[in-house]
Each structure stands twice: as structure tokens, then as C-alpha cells.
Subunit: 357 residues, 2 copies
């Protein structure tokens, strides 16, 4: 018996020098099939992809950066964070029909719900077989939110904001936060967490629509960095007690020049420039006793994951916390979705949804 | 009655673009006199300079950097850290004949021994009148070390190393420290503190003589950064658990690329490049959960000053802690001494001594 179906994939076709172009660096390939009944699982899972998260770090990996040893292989599918439904399982704790969140980065610290490590998964493909060393988590959906949200505001992006804020932000009522890329999936969650802590929030973005969203979620000062000098605005509206840095480079320098004594800078990843823009004002850290911390959400998951799922999805469902998403409805949209994210054109967390689960 | 004497000074004559050249950007001027009996003190002190510390930050100020608002005024004497003997006093706690350490940076947090704030002092002059807002500390010399050491290994440089190490270094036995400018006044103290904590130490410097000194004070791996790639050496000898960064720029990038997960980077100031060399690898902080902290020694003085004076000078006197100094014996040597420091030619902590006290 066999059930042979198409298994479309997004292929890493060429190394980009700038932005990855759809059809050139990332291509859609529907030439392969998969035998759902007989494909060997080697002790793992067969997963049907439900939703895939589209994130800036994917370009960083395409450019060859070493992120915990993670690489995309040329002519092979790219990898990412996503949610899928289990079709077959050779893992005792996981049953067909369950939904799983899969961590492409292969960090076994991220699997508190199902203590299993699988291969780097899920591929950006309709179906994938997970075998060794990635993190798989059986999802218990406690809200009516669609799965897309569970790879966005209730997924890696929201978790990054929540974990980083809980662990690293010395939030004080009345003190000032500045967030660059404030309308992004991480930035917008950070802003709302800061407002809940009574902070004054300065936030920047690159379009009027995003500025409007910044105001809607409570930013006290929202500005367009393409029209207003970050340096001049912070000199006027600062000093900055906490800077959540999503871009680096000259924006980081501008913040460093306007930090308060003892201020904190938090970096969870850079949105558009692959982190290559240099910063020249680190000496300001000495004059102002500033500290700067980088973190990956996965190393904090063991501390905050349960708290996150218990508190954040219900607030997203009730509207107490706001989020925006830009949902694409077929796998072939992955390259376009990523390019929109990297060029700042996306109107919310980019997610590619293959089925409503 | 009056006692009129020469009061030579070092003048900030022009803003340098690169290194400050003796006779051009810093000039020696012996045209003024001072009336030691009658010069008005305005509630302050008349101090005869004993020893002046020559430090890299002085160039940073000359280049116009804003360090807590500190500036040198053109055609006026430069300022610095130093020790002087009190000739006259209008401050009740301070008597003629006492030796005082004076903090040019005007931070009132640094005066635990005499609760007095005076003006930015001492000038690089034979005599100076201190009036409001700098830190003055009456010195109790408990060792036979000359005063020069109390502006070096037992002064601001040693204190910077000690305070920063105590406050910010997550030292663990067997873990690895990398120190750039390891043979400098700060770096060499950091190395010895790390060895006392059982760490493995990698250190770099720019001459064979300095490499020899690094080995003498216990560095496990000592290398010449002009001959050996920092990046390649750290890739082989790392990963680095703590990087004490004295230079920034590409060396910082090389360290960032070779940090261990959860590593720490400590910045107390940059030795030769005024902190302007850009760093491009801050994203590594995210992948490796690295934190970076800048600090000025003056904000930590209240916590560690007493401990410092109780423990460090006796160990310097006994030879348990080693130090090197390059002593100049007249005020007109200040410009040359500073240039030697900035070009890495000094063979120890640069100090200008005007009298043996």
C-alpha cells in the first residue's frame, strides 16, 4: 500500500550577495513526490506542514553566517520554524493527529513538552520527515487563535520579546525605552510589555502605516526613521534607559550617544542588515556604564516557556495584546514573503500557511 | 609677604587630527608665575604637583569626545589624574603637608576619604589651585612605594582593573580570559587578577619585550598581534569566556567570533584608537548569548576603594603583583610621554614625576 503525493519544496538555489531574489536564490520546486505510507522515519516523525514562520535570520543563514552551526545546503530545501500535523510517528510520546512546533535550529533546549530530538526541521516543504536533533514540541492550543499566530506573536517572535524582556530588561515605571523596528513582530510585543510595566516608549518604523500601528499599541513617541534623524530625536526625547536594538549600525550608535547612565541595550537579532553594519560608538558604554546583552530565545525557553503560553496567547485572543500578521496561503510565496520582510514591506508578522490545521 | 615662583604648564594648543604632536598640539609653557602666599583659594587648596598620570583617554578628550562633559580648553593647561602636596588649604579636613590624589574628571563619587569637591584638577602644571567639583582624596601611604605607583598600578589604572574585575568578571577556575593590550597598566593587572582566580590567560601586545612581560606575569598564551592573526589564534586557543577589550575594532570582532556561549566582554576604555574603530560582529552576541559591559572606574570606587588600598599596594610592594612604569622626570616630558603611550612605545605605565614627595 502506498500513498504517493506531490511534495513541493523551497530550494536554496544560490547564495545571495544582497537580498535573496525569488526565482534566483530561492526557488519553488514541485518535481518531487513522497510516499506517505512507506517513507522511512528512522525513529522520527512524518509531518505535514501547517504554517511556516518567515524571519530575517533566514537571510543571515543564506549569507553564510554561522548560527550555532546552522547552514542551508545548496539545492536542498531551506529550514525554518513551523507547525505541522503528525501523520506518522515512531516516537512513543507523539501520536498521529497531534500538532507539533518544530525548531529548525536544532537546539535540544527547546523541547520541554516532548523530550525528543529530531533532525533540523521542518523543511520548507509540504511534508517532511524529522529524524534527529531538532526540537519538537507537541502543541496544546488553548485559544481559538489560528496556527499562524502560534508561529508569530504566540511563537518564536513573541517568545523572543517575552523572554528577553523578562530576563534582561531593567524596566522601571516612568523610565524610557527606545525600540527600533518597533512595528515588527518582536518590536511590537516589546513595546506592549514595556507599556504594561509603565515605561515611556519611543519607537521607530519606516512607513506611516507602521507609525499608526506604533501609536495604536501605545508608543508615546513614534517616528519615521526615514524622515527624522534618530540621533536628533533621541537627543531631544532621551536619554534612553533601555534600547531594544533590532537594527545595529548607525542607529545603535545614535542610541549609544543618548543612553542614560547605567542604561541597557538588548539585542535579539537584526532585522534587515544581517548584522553587518558597524557600530563605532562603543566607547560610550564606558562613559555611561552601559551594558549590552545579546541572547537567543532558545536558551531562555526552559525558564519562560510555560509562563509564556499561560499568559500571552489568551491576551492575544482577547485583544489586550495586539499583533499584526501578513499571511500567505501557498508554499510558493515563501521567497516573496521573505523579501518583503527584509525590505520592510511586510505589514505584520509574515507567515506562510499551507492548511488551517 | 609673597613667594613668587615659576608655574610651568602643559598647554592644549591645537586640536589634533591624529596623534597629538609635542610642540604642536601640546606645548610646554614656562612664562607664568604664581604667588604661593597670596593666590586666592576661594575655599579650596593650593597644590604642588608631585606625580601626574599619563593616560590614553587624554587624547580622546583632545579629540573632542564628551566624557561626562569633560573638556580641555584651548590655550589652557590640560587636566589629569595626579598626586600633589597641599601647600595651603581653606578646607577644614585637609592640612598643608598632606598628600592628595586628585581626580580630574570631576566626579564627586570618588572622594571617600575627604568629602570635598573641587574644580577640575590638577592642571598639568607645577602648581594648581583646586576650587570646586573635582574629587580630592587625602592619601595615606602605607607602603614604601613611590608616589608614581599611586597614580599607576596603585592608582587609576590598577583601580580600573581591580574594580572592573571584581564587579563584572564571571571568573571561573580553568575558564579562559583574553586581554588585548595585556602589557598595559590595566591589562597587566587584569591578567594577574585572573591568574589568582585560576583562569587560563591569553594576552596580546605589540613588542617582544611586552610579550616577555606577559609571560613573566603568568599569561599562558602570549602573542604579538602584529605578527599573529588575533582571529586565527583565538580560533585555535579559544573559545574565550571573558574578553577584556582594550582596543575595540577588528580585535573586538575577532573576539566576538570566538566567544564561548554565555561569554562576557568588559570594556574600560580603549588604549590607542579613541574608540572609533567600528565593530561589525555584534550579532555574534545573539548567537552566543554574550554580554558586554562598559564601565568607568569612578562609579565603582565607592564599592571597592577601601578593599583596593588594603590589598593591592602591599602586594605590589612585596612583588606578589608585578608592574612596570616608565617615569619621566620633568613636566615638559608630558607631550612625549603621551605620544609614547598612544603609539604603544611606552615600556610601562607612563608617569611624570615632578618631585619625590
Amino acid at each position: 500500500m502506498s500513498e504517493i503525493v506531490r511534495n513541493s519544496r523551497i530550494i536554496y538555489a544560490a547564495v545571495p550577495t544582497g537580498f535573496p531574489e525569488p526565482g534566483i536564490h530561492l526557488t519553488y520546486n514541485d518535481s518531487l513526490t513522497i510516499d506517505l505510507e512507506n517513507v522511512p522515519l528512522n525513529g522520527g516523525l512524518l509531518i505535514k506542514t501547517v504554517a511556516l514562520s518567515i524571519d530575517p535570520y533566514m537571510r543571515t543563514i543564506m549569507l553564510g553566517a554561522d548560527i550555532d552551526g546552522e547552514k542551508y545546503l545548496l539545492d536542498q530545501p531551506i529550514l525554518g520554524y513551523g507547525i505541522g500535523i503528525v501523520l506518522r510517528s515512531e516516537i512513543s510520546d507523539i501520536r498521529p493527529g497531534q500538532y507539533v512546533h518544530v525548531d529548525a535550529l536544532g537546539n535540544s533546549a527547546v523541547i520541554p513538552l516532548a523530550r525528543v530530538t529530531l533532525t533540523r526541521q521542518p523543511e520548507h516543504a509540504e511534508y517532511s520527515v524529522a529524524s534527529v536533533s531538532a526540537g519538537v514540541r507537541v502543541m496544546k492550543r488553548s485559544t481559538s487563535l489560528p496556527w499562524s499566530v502560534y508561529v508569530g506573536a504566540a511563537g518564536m517572535a513573541g517568545q523572543t520579546a517575552f523572554y528577553g524582556w523578562r530576563e534582561h530588561a531593567p524596566a522601571k515605571k516612568g523610565s524610557t525605552l527606545y525600540v527600533s523596528t518597533g512595528a515588527g513582530a518582536v518590536g511590537s510585543m516589546v513595546i506592549q510589555l514595556a507599556k504594561r510595566d509603565g515605561m515611556r516608549v519611543i519607537a521607530s518604523a519606516g512607513t506611516q502605516e507602521k507609525i499608526d500601528f506604533l501609536k495604536e499599541i501605545g508608543a508615546d513617541v513614534a517616528f519615521n526613521y526615514k524622515e527624522t534623524s534618530v540621533r536628533e530625536l533621541l537627543a531631544k526625547q532621551g536619554p534612553v534607559d533601555i534600547y531594544w536594538d533590532n537594527v545595529g549600525g548607525d542607529t545603535l550608535d545614535a542610541a549609544l550617544e543618548n543612553m542614560s547612565v547605567g542604561g541597557a541595550i538588548i539585542i535579539c537579532g537584526y532585522s534587515t542588515n544581517a548584522g553587518s553594519a558597524p557600530a563605532s560608538s562603543l566607547m560610550k558604554m564606558v562613559y555611561k556604564d552601559v551594558h549590552m546583552v545579546g541572547f537567543g530565545f532558545n536558551t531562555l525557553e526552559h525558564k519562560y516557556l510555560d509562563e509564556f503560553y499561560a499568559t500571552i496567547p489568551p491576551k492575544l485572543e482577547s485583544g489586550e495584546l495586539k499583533f499584526r500578521e501578513e499571511v500567505f496561503r501557498s508554499l510558493d510565496k515563501v521567497p516573496e514573503a521573505l523579501l518583503r520582510v527584509l525590505t520592510g514591506k511586510n505589514r505584520g508578522k509574515a507567515v506562510v500557511v499551507l492548511s488551517d490545521g
